[in-house]
């Protein structure tokens, strides 16, 4: 269990400079929001797009997975690191 709002926790996953996609982020955080419907890959995906739009994350790469879905991979920006630091 964590007391950090999920969107902030999603951004926090990138704090060490890793490049991650929505499913990888979901796998990292899902244990911290147990039994919460809100913690879904879809919610994480939506948060990642929003974090990208405001410049906290940058597009690292993208690929088409085995199901034919487009998967985006993100990495945190310098601005994102500063923003996270201030929010903690």
């Amino acid at each position: 269990m964590t007391n950090i709002p999920m969107k902030m926790r999603v951004a926090d996953c990138f704090g060490q400079g890793e490049a991650l996609n929505a499913r990888a982020v979901h796998d990292i955080i899902c244990d911290q929001y147990p039994t919460e419907r809100y913690c879904s890959v879809r919610s994480v995906h939506e948060h990642l797009m929003s974090l990208k739009a405001v410049g906290i994350l940058n597009d690292e790469s993208s690929y088409v997975d085995d199901n034919g879905d487009l998967v985006s991979v993100y990495r945190i920006s310098e601005y994102g690191l500063n923003r996270l630091h201030k929010a903690r």
């Binding site: 964590t2 709002p5 405001v54 923003r83």
Partner: protein, 321 residues
């Protein structure tokens, strides 16, 4: 790129829905303002603030239902305790009780002819704040578009001045400026908070803050709760939950739009509420469609197209290295 553009375009749709529903919200609330209960001269300040308190309280309740139904209630608790919620709470104070009370005082002291055009500038104020504090990218074309939206809103909402200016005129203008800055800064503070918070949850924080301040601070200062129970139990009682539901939907779309497509675009499209409000009034009440309304509508539409501009500009909203 395609995914990012589709995200931003969804934000534009949310902004448009927020304008339409805010227009409808205003028309529903006007039914309450037409009630003899709220028309008493002695209630010139208390009546609109009671309506504001009821609107935001019911809105907070509907959002609690929405967040409960979508599994976000624990997120609301976490958000209320987080540092990232502070700008949202501050924005709620500016955009809720402070701006609304100032707007009402401005109308009383300076009259609508002066106050309406001044307060219609709030999207421009918000865009300036967004460009400065959020480093939001606003193209020159978009500034012109925003200007057109404001001008269109002023033309639609314009009321000719009545009588001579009283001693309190400049105080009224000052209150109108406070309201304009309050609404403008709310968008920027909320958007800053939503960088790291879910928009639906941030909005619930906003409405809970606003309703608490209305109920615990503003109404006692403005004369108490004299109208509270009569308004809820009278013939207009249904208006408040219904208007608040429309208002909650409008705010939800507005907050999501600001987060997804930027403050300046969301604000410029949201201000079309003046146009939608008149259209709904024309359908449901006896408001006439005049040449000024058509001119204002055309100007707003042109402005909106200019603000939206090239969709590719929306892939990254801010000038950040």
């Amino acid at each position: 790129m395609k995914q990012n553009l589709s995200f931003a375009k969804r934000g534009l749709v949310f902004a448009l829905i927020s304008g339409i529903t805010w227009g409808l919200d205003g028309v529903i609330l006007s039914l309450a303002f037409a009630s003899p209960l709220l028309l008493g001269e002695e209630y010139w300040l208390l009546a609109p603030l009671t309506v504001g308190a009821l609107h935001d309280s019911f809105s907070a309740f509907w959002l609690l239902c929405f967040n409960g139904a979508t599994g976000r209630l624990r997120e609301l608790g976490r958000t209320l305790r987080s540092k990232a919620a502070r700008p949202v709470i501050l924005g709620a104070l500016f955009g809720g009780p402070v701006a609304m009370s100032s707007y009402m005082l401005g109308l009383k002291f300076a009259g609508p002819a002066y106050v309406m055009p001044i307060t219609a500038l709030y999207p421009a104020v918000a865009s300036v704040f967004a460009a400065v504090f959020l480093k939001e990218k606003v193209a020159v074309r978009a500034w012109f578009g925003l200007l057109l939206c404001v001008v269109g809103g002023v033309i639609i909402g314009y009321t000719p001045p009545e009588g001579s200016l009283g001693n309190e005129f400049y105080l009224g203008i000052a209150f109108a400026l406070v309201a304009t800055f309050g609404w403008g800064i709310e968008g920027v503070l909320a958007t800053s908070g939503m960088d790291l918070l879910d928009p639906a949850v941030a909005l619930n924080v906003r409405q809970l803050t606003s309703s608490s301040v209305y109920l615990l601070v503003v109404l006692p200062l403005a004369g108490g709760y004299a109208l509270f129970v009569p308004a809820l139990t009278g013939s207009i009682g249904w208006v408040f939950p219904v208007a608040a539901m429309t208002g909650a939907l409008s705010y939800l779309c507005w907050y999501r739009a600001m987060n997804m497509t930027g403050v300046s675009r969301a604000m410029a499209i949201n201000i079309t509420y003046s146009l939608w409000g008149l259209l709904f009034s024309a359908v449901f009440t006896e408001v006439e469609i005049t040449a000024a309304i058509i001119t204002g509508a055309l100007i707003i539409t042109t402005g909106m197209i200019m603000v939206v501009g090239n969709p590719k500009e929306m892939a990254c909203l801010r000038s950040i290295q």
